[in-house]
């Protein structure tokens, strides 16, 4: 069963790639505002999460990379083997894995930004 037309999926794939590259560049630039060893200190990491703008950016980055990565994995798996049952399992498996990863990552971001960690 086709959930979306493949062209729409691939537009999302290319769009998420561009978005992820853009946000990763911002993320790396943010790291450069302080020394590398300082940026990984516990207090600084927590402080970053508690900046609402930065937390939103991390959440977006998580979504973009998850969508792009799991669609890439789906494409690789579809090329490796074929068959209706297998293809359905791969598609729904990738969507479920993506949703679980986003939910788990979002939980971390939300809890940390709200000072629950």
């Amino acid at each position: 069963m086709m959930i979306l037309r493949e062209s729409i999926v691939m537009k999302i794939h290319y769009g998420t790639a561009l978005g992820a590259v853009f946000l990763t560049v911002i993320h790396i630039l943010m790291r450069m505002t302080q020394d590398f060893h300082e940026s990984l200190q516990y207090e600084n990491v927590i402080a970053n999460y508690q900046m609402i703008g930065y937390a939103i950016m991390l959440e977006l980055l998580l979504i973009l990379i998850s969508v792009h990565g799991f669609n890439g994995l789906r494409v690789i798996l579809l090329e490796m083997r074929q068959g209706p049952t297998y293809e359905k399992a791969v598609t729904y498996g990738c969507i479920a894995s993506m949703a679980i990863l986003i939910a788990y990552g979002s939980r971390t971001i939300i809890m940390t930004s709200m000072g629950m960690v």
């Binding site: 086709m2 037309r5 493949e6 062209s7 999926v9 691939m10 537009k11 494409v75 579809l78 090329e79 490796m80 074929q82 293809e87």
Partner: protein, 258 residues
């Protein structure tokens, strides 16, 4: 009399003969209907300046081993029947001269990504099915022939023709599909041959079947599975560039062209 003989013997021949040399021809032999064994049979055959690989194989077939299975027809790169791997590269046997290969050993194998029928002959069913699937004909409601008014011409400018003409040269030899790395993995992939032909008809201004064709190739095993290796374009004996056709088709699906 003896003087005359001497004169004749000293006379220079007007016929220039190309030097004959010999090459070793290694032919892949297999018959999947009997067993999965694959072996190479070797034959030493004389070749001349204009001997093609197909000539060499037919020489073997005529004089050394009649059982070699090879598909061929026109011998002039028009029918697309004699596609095979020659020294590891997909090529038409009738369009490849032995001397151009610059080697004394020539290995011929059946094309990759096609089921083997026997020896060098492969089964084209999948390729032809994919070709049929993309509707390889001009789709339109009206006809060039009108019962009441006679013949109506559907005019095209030279620029209109330029958009698709190179893709019309496809002879369905299957070399592009054989060279395609995605075809090797994805048995449901539509393939560069069918995709190039989809572009050929979509780019034709007379055709009205664009939307249907785009729907057919916009599939999880359709156009998006091409990784642009470009090997299809490299091996085409007719100068068709399927890789470019695929990228142009993608631009339709991405909304970059109408």
């Amino acid at each position: 009399m003896s003087e005359l003989n001497q004169e004749i013997s000293q006379e220079k021949s007007q016929t220039v003969l190309s030097p004959t040399k010999s090459v070793k021809l290694r032919i892949s032999r297999s018959n999947p209907e009997v067993n999965s064994e694959e072996r190479f049979d070797e034959f030493v055959i004389p070749v001349e300046k204009y001997t093609t690989v197909l000539d060499a194989i037919l020489n073997v077939k005529s004089h050394l081993d009649h059982s070699v299975a090879v598909r061929y027809s026109c011998r002039q790169a028009s029918c697309g029947s004699c596609g095979m791997k020659i020294n590891g590269k997909p090529a038409l046997a009738c369009f490849t001269k032995v001397v151009e290969l610059n080697t004394d050993t020539i290995t011929v194998e059946p094309m990759d990504n096609f089921p083997i029928v026997r020896d060098l002959a492969v089964n084209f069913t999948r390729m032809f099915n994919n070709h049929k699937k993309i509707m390889p004909y001009v789709v339109r409601e009206d006809s060039e022939i009108k019962p009441d008014t006679g013949v109506k011409e559907i005019l095209q400018t030279p620029e209109d023709v330029d958009k698709y003409i190179q893709f019309s040269s496809c002879i369905k030899c299957g070399l592009c599909n054989s060279a395609c790395p995605t075809m090797a993995m994805d048995t449901s992939f539509v393939g560069p041959q069918a995709l190039a032909q989809a572009y050929r008809y979509i780019a034709d201004t007379r055709d009205k079947g664009k939307d249907n064709r785009l729907k057919i190739i916009d599939d999880s095993h359709g156009i998006w599975r091409c990784h642009f290796a470009g090997s299809c374009s490299q091996v085409c004996p007719k100068g068709v560039d399927p890789a470019m056709g695929i990228q142009l088709l993608r631009s339709y699906l991405l909304g970059l062209r109408d």
